[in-house]
Symmetry: C2
Subunit: 343 residues, 2 copies
């Protein structure tokens, strides 16, 4: 049993973790481990918003940018339909070298949001947190997803999970900081580009499901009993999340290399604070139902479960965030957090 | 909105509460307020264990003791059948003056466990915590139960509830102390009387339900959808709680003055630690189901719900505890926490 907080990020605590030192989680979980030399990671969401035909040219364009010098160590792609009925394909890329990203990004940004595309919106959402502001969790250690793909590897079994508050306790900064949100999001107009200046301690979660290994009865149980409840919660956050501090939520279907829908999904959401995310997860009826369904599923199957679950959570400082939208509707991503009409 | 921690028990924190200062609970709850002069309360459980006919003589005897000089400000009585098939009637009495209790108790104890009763077991379980080691919670402020009956009154709406960790945050000692358990329970034989010497920071919860005001569809919903799930969780704790730190659990039916079963119940359990109780409540499938059922019930009915819920929780220092059993089977109450066979 090891701590989710890597040794080199251990700090003299001014804040306690939520469980006693002898706490034993009831089942194993794992976290991504970066090389100690990695001080920051970058997670960049490049979105294309459209109606009708898939904008293949734009997708080819972003793939080309990602393949160019300085591009990410790993990227993946996923699709969803937003609350306004627009299809959105998001290409998510990860770096563990922020200097490399910065050089690459200057040109890539201009290419992606610097020009008009007929009938197509484009956006960029980037976090570049210090590793102390970030955590991951995996139900099994042998198939990294998202940012964990660029990590050095996986931990052994960690202690800080399977209780409410584990997410916070896995973030190294929680040892000394409440990570309270500071300020309110603002809008910056730069010609056709709209940038959202968010606020200190904005929170991002990507929470994924992979049922590709499930068979027969397990698959049926996931698709019939768990997925619909998950979808309902995701829809709630998408449509009504703002009142509880969720600026935006996307329930994404991961795309395979050939563009077809795979048997993986993830929810990705922007939150006013880690505390707001905690409250929803712990006590909102929609997530209580998700938790109940997942619990029933996992207790039915036990260690034989082939469903894979993971998440990554970041609480970003104000200067670690970048949000830019071009030709997107007013409720796209973090635009939903600011007033754009009539401005 | 006020803090559950009364002003005169506010301390310079070395431990944070689990929610930010601007946290707003989604529905109102209330706590009992004692006069600031009350430094300790006493909660004393006098049990009679039997098979077959109700031992009226013993019940009359304890009622007489409670009515004598120095007796409690309030008592109530409830019944259950334990895991070994014994019926048990527990008379619970409350004092807010520990000196008064001490004088009364010396004689009452001798009368209750100091003599043999044919075919009947008797026991005494007492906590006398400082008020800093104790909290209550009520869904409505107009019908106190249990220890709250002896309080000065009810608070206004308090902040620290409706999130996991609220129970801990309402206990004043949590401002400065993790309340970790210390030591292991031991057995002391004193002739026919068995005393359990427990350990520092043992935890007691009494968690009650009152459906006497519910009507028609609400009553049906409670009795059909909530109560069976609650009972299942209570049975789990009674039969299999030890492995997760629950020494003993009793799911009690409150008795009216005439000895008939009323429309009130409570679960009462002894725990190795507050942390063990927190873990069960937050993540054990049996309580997740109770929470889900209660959540669904309350969200269906909204503020119109007539069901009343309350609880009281104490984390007692070792010298604030007293457990004594006479002619009871080996798994009665805190005896279940120690080895009595062959000793």
């Amino acid at each position: 049993m090891e701590s989710a907080i890597p040794q080199h990020l251990e700090a003299l605590r001014t804040r306690h973790k939520r469980v006693p030192d002898d706490y034993q989680p009831p089942y194993p979980s794992f976290v991504a481990r970066y090389k100690p030399a990695v001080s920051r990671v970058v997670m960049a969401y490049f979105g294309v918003q459209y109606r009708g035909e898939v904008p293949l040219a734009a997708l080819t364009e972003i793939a080309g940018l990602l393949a160019s010098e300085g591009g990410p160590s790993h990227w993946d792609r996923a699709r969803y339909v937003d609350q306004a009925g627009y299809a959105t394909i998001v290409t998510v890329a990860y770096w563990d070298d922020v200097a490399r990203f910065d050089v690459w990004f200057a040109a890539a940004r201009e290419a992606w949001t610097g020009k008009a595309r007929e009938g197509i919106g484009s956006f960029i959402e980037v976090l570049r947190p210090t590793v102390a502001r970030h955590e991951t969790l995996f139900s099994s250690p042998d198939r990294p997803e998202g940012v964990a793909v660029i990590a050095d590897g996986m931990s052994g079994e960690v202690q800080e999970h399977a209780y409410w508050g584990g997410m916070r306790d896995r973030i190294p900064l929680s040892q000394t900081d409440a990570m309270a949100p500071g300020g309110a999001p603002g809008l910056v107009r730069d010609g056709a580009r709209l940038r959202v200046k968010p606020h200190d301690n904005l929170c991002l979660i990507r929470s994924g499901q992979d049922w590709s290994d499930t068979e027969a009865s397990e698959r049926k149980l996931y698709l019939d009993d768990v997925e619909p409840v998950l979808r309902e919660g995701m829809d709630f956050l998408r449509d009504d999340g703002l009142a509880i501090g969720c600026y935006a939520n996307r329930y994404m279907q991961v795309l395979a290399a050939d563009g077809t829908v795979s048997e993986k999904s993830y929810g990705q959401s922007w939150w006013k604070s880690l505390a707001a995310l905690e409250r929803w997860a712990e006590s909102h009826p929609t997530h209580v139902r998700i938790f109940g369904a997942a619990m029933k599923y996992l207790s039915t199957l036990g260690p034989a479960a082939k469903l894979r679950l993971y998440h990554e959570v970041t609480v970003a400082a104000a200067d670690e965030q970048f949000f830019e939208y071009r030709n997107c509707h007013a409720k796209t991503g973090m635009l939903a957090a600011v007033e754009t009409i009539g401005a």
